[in-house]
Symmetry: C2
Subunit: 245 residues, 2 copies
């Protein structure tokens, strides 16, 4: 940093893809992106040789990337049998959901005394967006607005560790947004719950906000207990059909 080797050939050409990251980091980011976007659906087998020639690198960086992904919980590696994209059972998903929203419970307690007017405005705007999409049945857009709402809340907590853990967990769960919505149920009720939470936050009443959020948490759990696994799958399939229309 103090001395810079400006004479060194730093090829800063017009290509915007100037990645001076290591190959393993790029492989990691690439695979992570493909998994999170569902281009590599859960259960997909990941073979090192195929990945290496597809990304144009050798197996070393690929192995490191897979190791990192395994530590993040996105893939599971079976010793001497390769890696597969990790999949969550309904049970696993519900448990992760509980943890995620518990983290948000902490987030809102920390965030409420710190929330700035611009932040409150953005949360308000996101809630409005959710309401619009809920009314018109745009479930995908609803989910995205909902995800951003909760992420902003966590960011506003000012707790870096909380943000780190929350993002990791949210990343693991993002692929299962259909299941999230099925468990969440009525979107309009969800919107009104968000409004109530936001109102309490606006008044600086963190205890009420946290209590409302806790109630919000239990909705998917209660619904899941009243559904069989088959009903859950059927509801997910129904969502998929609707989305394709």
């Amino acid at each position: 940093m103090t001395t810079e080797a400006t004479v060194q050939g730093e090829q800063n050409d017009g290509v915007p893809e100037l990645e001076n990251l290591t190959l393993s980091q790029r492989a990691h980011a690439h695979l992570r992106e493909e998994i999170l976007s569902n281009r590599l659906p859960p259960g997909t087998e990941l073979q090192e040789l195929a990945l290496s020639q597809r990304l144009g690198v050798s197996r070393g960086p690929i192995r490191e990337a897979l190791g990192r992904l395994a530590a993040e919980g996105l893939v599971t590696v079976r010793p001497r049998r390769g890696a597969v994209v990790h999949s969550l059972s309904s049970e696993d998903f519900l448990q992760a959901y509980q943890v995620r929203e518990a983290l948000e419970g902490l987030a809102i307690r920390l965030a409420v005394p710190r929330l700035t007017p611009p932040e409150l405005d953005e949360l308000q705007r996101l809630t409005d967006t959710m309401e619009t999409h809920a009314a018109s049945g745009r479930v995908t857009e609803f989910f995205e607005a909902n995800a951003v709402f909760h992420e902003r809340l966590v960011d506003a907590s000012g707790n870096a560790k909380l943000q780190e853990i929350y993002r990791r967990l949210a990343g693991q769960m993002h692929r299962y947004w259909r299941r999230s919505l099925v468990l969440r149920g009525d979107l309009r009720r969800s919107v009104s719950e968000h409004r109530a939470i936001l109102d309490a936050a606006r008044q600086g009443d963190e205890e009420t906000a946290a209590r409302l959020l806790a109630d919000h948490i239990r909705v998917p759990q209660i619904r899941m207990q009243s559904m069989t696994a088959d009903e859950l799958l059927e509801a997910e399939a129904s969502f998929e059909r609707k989305e394709e229309a």
Copy 2:
């Protein structure tokens, strides 16, 4: 799941000598152990060549192990500059502490309706142990009993994801137990807080238990805000001196 994850059908014969794990797994476990036990204190630089010849393997497995440890948050890797054992600032530690105890808040809500008499008895026993050690000033033993108490609570939740995240976080923080105790303050007060939580749990009153635990959470935060960084370091040093006596 992140660390050793899925190794099934592991039959350990009488000889602990021959581990049929991969070298990278053994390197990972070895380094993890050395870091958690403070034999590799925070800030220690980890050079691949030195590690590889110390463990008798080549650099490949070492690199994989370091990558896993980095994903777990136990080391930080600086591109092209090697890895160092991760250290937590007071700020980081407090944030991690908040998250950890928030996770326990979820744990106790889930655990209370499920707690069996044997589990309650063990929690009672651990609280008694804490009281004994608090009275005689055996801070190390107090901390261990306290850690087990909270871990049992998390186990009793029946939520595997919660257990996984909690263990990871507790592992990161375990090296800083002195700081934990300094922030916690009066041990006898801590014991009585545990008793109150346990009483509520015994009566099946999860809301009261969770509320008491939430109050329990805020103690270190409040204390930290009333201490300067120098006072914190001095108090830690004081603990160290006492421990050596």
